[in-house]
């Protein structure tokens, strides 16, 4: 496992502050964050390469906070590979390999055995990345730290290597922490998602939970939620047909930016933000029959077709509400700019933070 608690570390002028999260033994953690958030520094701090300031790093149950990098049992793959340019491909993979068999196996797994005799300077970006993965795997680490390792790969090779990394992680029960900019990659690979910004963890948890229930409007915006509104939530006088909320949850009415939305939530009334993912917004020509839904009347302002999806921007009392539809649904509705439309979403789909 990787358990980081109150970790503060320094790399040059950058400072990582009070970072706490855990990836269970054999789990796959994904770190998302904007450029300059400290993602690489976080990996370096776990590997023991950044100056430790405070807090603890536990790997496989052992406190390694004061141990040197060579004693931590981590494999680190940087975005730029950092293959040793004075050595050949085979020498790079064998550099820290557990034994000769481990080096051979790692080269075969990542399909770089054919490159064994090549000089590093002759490799393409994608080949370098594969060799770097093989080099890290050949050491048989307990924890694998990946810093955007698929960045230089073409889409076909990316899918294959992603599969290999996932297989390596599964077969060896290898706890992995993976830095990426790619939301799809985060959703596809991660058991735990850590959102980092300016050296601090904004939120950590299961990817589904983080995507659906972001802890703050900045996390929501960073994770691509297009409908984020500021306002105030108050208790509803009568629940009027909404599904019964459990003990911890209640129905609140959110009002802000000209919208009124009912939300099933566990938070207290007060100032907050409402977040509705575009995929949760349904469009119709007529209002939805169920009172369990929030129904907002608006006018279509923009229809943007992108492959199999269409994004429709609806103007509701001067506030934009974005809906993501399948191309089929959009064609069926035959929406055009200026059309009147009803945008609806379930109260459970309105997240207050």
């Amino acid at each position: 496992m990787i358990a980081v608690e109150g970790l503060s570390a320094r790399a040059g002028a950058f400072r990582l502050a009070d970072v706490t999260f855990a990836v269970p033994q054999g789990g796959y953690g994904v770190v998302l964050g904007p450029a300059g958030a400290g993602k690489t520094t976080l990996l370096e701090a776990i590997a023991g390469l950044a100056t430790h300031v405070g807090g603890t790093v536990r790997l496989a149950g052992r406190d390694v906070s004061r141990e040197p990098p060579e004693a931590r049992g981590v494999g680190l793959v940087y975005q730029h590979a950092y293959l040793f340019p004075h050595l050949g491909v085979a020498e790079n993979v064998a550099y820290g390999a557990a034994d000769a068999d481990a080096a051979r196996e790692a080269m075969a797994r990542f399909g770089v055995d054919a490159l064994a005799g090549r000089r590093v300077g002759t490799l393409s970006g994608g080949e370098r990345q594969l060799v770097a993965l093989a080099r890290a795997a050949a050491r048989r680490p307990r924890v694998l730290l990946l810093d955007e390792p698929f960045g230089a790969l073409d889409p076909r090779r990316r899918a294959r290597v992603r599969h290999e990394v996932r297989a390596l992680h599964r077969e060896w029960g290898l706890t992995t922490l993976h830095v990426t900019h790619d939301f799809a990659e985060a959703g596809l690979l991660g058991d735990v998602l850590v959102v980092l910004e300016a050296g601090r963890v904004l939120q950590a948890g299961a990817p589904e939970a983080v995507f659906r229930r972001p802890a703050s409007p900045s996390v929501a915006a960073f994770l691509g939620a297009e409908n984020v509104y500021a306002g105030v939530a108050r208790a509803e006088v009568a629940s009027g047909g909404l599904p019964p909320a459990d003990d911890a949850e209640r129905v609140l009415v959110f009002e802000g930016e000209g919208l009124t939305l009912r939300a099933v939530t566990d938070r207290e009334p007060g100032p907050c933000h409402a977040v509705v993912r575009a995929e949760e917004v349904v469009l119709a020509r007529a209002p939805h029959a169920s009172s369990a839904r929030n129904a907002l009347r608006g006018v279509v302002r923009e229809v943007h077709q992108a492959g199999a999806l269409a994004r429709v921007m609806v103007d509701v009392a001067g506030t934009p509400v974005v809906a993501a539809l399948t191309a089929g649904s959009a064609a069926e509705l035959a929406l055009r700019e200026g059309d009147a439309v009803w945008a609806s979403c379930k109260a459970h789909a309105v997240h207050l933070c």
């Binding site: 390469l49 060579e70 730029h80 040793f84 550099y95 820290g96």
Partner: protein
């Protein structure tokens, strides 16, 4: 005047200024080699004093360079890689000898290494006399040329991304092993170039050596000695051979750069 014409005029002026400087630098050296080169090369065979002087120069410069490399490499690495309190002061101290007039450097060394000083006395007790010996020549060469090596080596280390060493550490290397297996090979070309520059500077040193050890005579001192004792004609062969000797490290540096 049109912009294009002005640009052409500036190009011509720049070319003229550059050519004049090149001529100013090359003409005296070419004249020196043309006047004394043949006699100097002949002297390598029939002038025992010149031969001994050149061997002494090369030997002491090599010894000074080896000492500079051994002691200067760790300092250069620390300056390039590890932020520490007083780093700027250490860097300034290392650069200071480059700014001193060289006889001043010799006088400063004399104040520390003469036999009536604590350090000179201690070295004498160990059987090492500095003033007026090859050890003194090495000390003078080291003092004036080691800063050049440290500066070049520091740049060579700074050019190697520290993440290479970091990756080596995660692959099981202790710090020294990572330095030996990764950083030193990657910085080797730059370190070699810095050592060549140091050696060349040591060979050409005169001012500090002449204060600390006039005898035995290195080539620069011999050239000066013959000039003041016998005149220009006798000094020419030694001076010309020194110019030719300086071409050796220049060629080595050029070859290293082209290979890079």
């Amino acid at each position: 005047m049109s912009g294009r014409l002005a640009a052409r005029l500036w190009t011509v002026l720049a070319a003229l200024a550059g050519s004049a400087l090149l001529l100013f630098l090359a003409a005296p050296l070419a004249q020196l080699v043309a006047s004394g080169g043949a006699a100097g090369l002949r002297g390598l065979f029939d002038d025992a004093e010149l031969r001994a002087s050149l061997l002494l120069t090369a030997g002491t410069a090599t010894a000074a360079t080896l000492l500079g490399v051994v002691a200067g490499t760790p300092v250069a690495y620390l300056l390039a890689r590890r932020p520490f309190r007083g780093r700027a002061l250490v860097a300034a101290l290392l650069d200071l000898p480059l700014l001193l007039p060289h006889p001043v450097a010799g006088i400063a060394l004399l104040l520390v290494l003469a036999r009536d000083t604590p350090a000179g006395g201690a070295l004498l007790a160990l059987g090492l006399r500095v003033v007026g010996t090859p050890a003194g020549i090495v000390a003078a060469m080291l003092f004036v040329s080691a800063p050049l090596y440290v500066s070049g080596a520091r740049e060579a280390f700074a050019r190697v991304d520290p993440r290479y060493e970091g990756v080596a550490r995660t692959l099981g290397d202790a710090p020294w092993r990572a330095l030996r297996r990764v950083t030193l090979p990657l910085a080797a070309r730059g370190l070699g170039a810095a050592a060549i520059v140091m050696w060349a500077r040591a060979v050409s040193e005169f001012g500090a050596i002449v204060v600390l050890a006039y005898n035995p005579k290195v080539a620069s001192v011999l050239s000066y000695d013959r000039f003041t004792t016998y005149g220009l004609r006798e000094a020419l062969p030694v001076a010309a051979v020194l110019v030719l000797l300086a071409l050796v490290p220049l060629a080595l540096l050029r070859a290293a750069r082209e290979e890079a």
